[in-house]
């Protein structure tokens, strides 16, 4: 009887250890660090309104070491907050892993937002072709998932200039079609007369700054050949004007050549 009790106790202990062990030994994904080279518009000094941003970016096609977290992206973006979370609307192109949708080592256009007041918080539209065309990638409170759209939006071409823009149409009296919806943001690529991806429901929606950057997740990706030009801020009544100031940022090992407020080059890798 006593032996049976001991065996039972031992069994319970082993079972408890096994359950606790399985809980403790969960796969832990290492944080993905970012490296940047480019410009902040930095409206603080001049109190400027920023109802949108435009830029031209030449498409580069660097070698991306095959790993899902390896990626390069080049984009223009508007910021609606830095705290309590960073909120943004962004458009550009990328090469490398596609979040949650599996690795894809090709050039893609993308447009995305992150919005604290919105569920899902994060949405990313990625262009493409073939079987992986036009993925919508969501992040919400219950997890991540992705699905296909039924259209193709083409792919950026290496060595070619492409135009990108984010606009807040409510603040732009000249925008066609006009919008009274404060939560609407439009992203454009190449055709500045017709929105590529439009998001409705973004909150907060007051723009506080603009950025233009090349971004990588690992320094072994070379961004040599990076070139941004014709950086503009949209104007509420006139169309737009050139960036008239900037704050540079380049993380090691990337270098930045500041040609003017509206143009820069970035190079290097390690």
């Amino acid at each position: 009887m006593q032996i049976n009790k001991s065996i039972t106790s031992l069994f319970v202990i082993i079972l408890t250890c096994a359950i606790l062990g399985s809980l403790v030994v969960q796969p832990v994904q290492a944080p993905v660090i970012r490296y940047y080279a480019g410009y902040f518009f930095n409206r603080y000094t001049y109190n400027t309104h920023v109802p949108g941003v435009y830029g031209q970016i030449i498409c580069i096609d660097p070698y991306i070491p095959t790993q899902e977290t390896n990626m390069i992206s080049q984009w223009v973006t508007i910021i609606t907050s830095y705290v309590p979370e960073v909120n943004w609307v962004q458009v550009g192109y990328r090469k490398g892993g596609i979040p949650y949708g599996g690795y894809y080592n090709g050039l893609r256009y993308f447009a995305e937002y992150y919005s604290t007041g919105t569920n899902p918080y994060y949405v990313n539209i990625v262009s493409g072709s073939g079987s992986q065309k036009d993925m919508k990638i969501f992040r919400n409170t219950t997890g991540e998932y992705w699905q296909y759209l039924t259209t193709s939006s083409g792919q950026p071409t290496s060595g070619q200039w492409h135009n990108y823009a984010v606009r807040h149409p409510y603040e732009l009296s000249w925008e066609i079609p006009p919008s009274t919806d404060r939560t609407e943001f439009r992203t454009f690529k190449d055709n500045m007369g017709a929105s590529w991806v439009t998001y409705k429901g973004i909150s907060p929606y007051n723009i506080i700054d603009a950025q233009a950057f090349s971004e990588t997740t690992v320094v072994s990706i070379y961004m040599t050949g990076t070139h941004f030009r014709e950086l503009h801020i949209y104007d509420t009544t006139l169309y737009y004007y050139y960036w008239n100031h900037h704050v540079p940022k380049n993380d090691w090992p990337y270098t930045l050549t500041q040609t003017s407020d509206k143009e820069f080059y970035a190079n290097g890798g390690a």
Binding site: V83, G92, T116, G117, T118, K136, T198, S203, P204, T217
Partner: protein
């Protein structure tokens, strides 16, 4: 005569009781801010440069964080006032234990933070107040018009529209915005998104646009009390 005196004393006691309750409800006495010098500086040295590198456990593309200069509350507000002729307001009420306060300047904004412990930077502060100072802010009429518009649209679908190169348009409803609630304090009009994580509230006051957020364990009720005290 004695009866009249007793009734008067009783009356005063009852009135006093209710005033105490009401005052305590609005602003618990121990949490009233006397002035900005009451707080401790959460940084190491005045005017230190703060570099923040965001990272995530996924590979979404994300913006860079600009360089910020960090000051104690008193010095930071003085510096902003010197630059702009006005400084962001600070709450008259805070949850208990918020003894550290800092001001970060950079990236087009002024960020005021409050916390119960020292923080490396604003990303882990319990209370954050992002203030954007505008030289030419919207008129009161425009602000009110925007507020009324929002009140008519307290919760909406999130709609994504994609146009392909041939001009075909694809619409997709992918979710809902968190419900917004609204309240007025004095002449400011506050929009609250209580269900978002973290909860946030935003409003305009004296030409400055404010976005206020709180982090756990603070609650959306704490946020409401904080922003209400900023409106008085």
């Amino acid at each position: 005569m004695r009866k009249k005196i007793l009734i008067s004393i009783l009356f005063l006691l009852i009135v006093g009781f209710y005033i105490t309750i009401l005052t305590g409800f609005l602003y618990p006495l121990h949490n009233i801010l006397i002035n900005e010098n009451n707080f401790l500086y959460g940084g190491e040295t005045e005017g230190e440069i703060i570099q923040i590198n965001l990272h995530t456990d996924s590979i979404i593309t994300m913006p860079a964080i600009p360089q910020f200069t960090r000051f104690s509350l008193s010095n930071g507000l003085t510096k902003v006032t010197r630059n702009y002729g006005k400084a962001p307001i600070i709450p008259k009420w805070l949850p208990e234990g918020m003894v550290y306060a800092d001001v970060y300047i950079g990236g087009g904004v002024v960020i005021t933070t409050f916390s119960d412990s020292k923080t490396v930077d604003f990303t882990s502060a319990k209370i954050t107040i992002q203030a954007v100072v505008y030289e030419n802010p919207p008129s009161e009429a425009t602000i009110l018009q925007e507020y009324e518009y929002e009140k008519q649209h307290p919760q909406e679908d999130i709609v994504v529209t994609v146009t392909d190169p041939s001009g075909n348009i694809y619409n997709s409803t992918i979710g809902r915005t968190y419900p917004k609630t609204f309240f007025d304090v004095g002449n400011i009009h506050i929009t609250l998104i209580a269900e978002s994580q973290p909860p946030i509230a935003y409003f305009w006051k004296n030409g400055i646009y404010y976005l206020v957020g709180v982090r756990s364990p603070l609650t959306s009720q704490d946020l409401i009390d904080i922003v209400k005290s900023m409106g008085d």
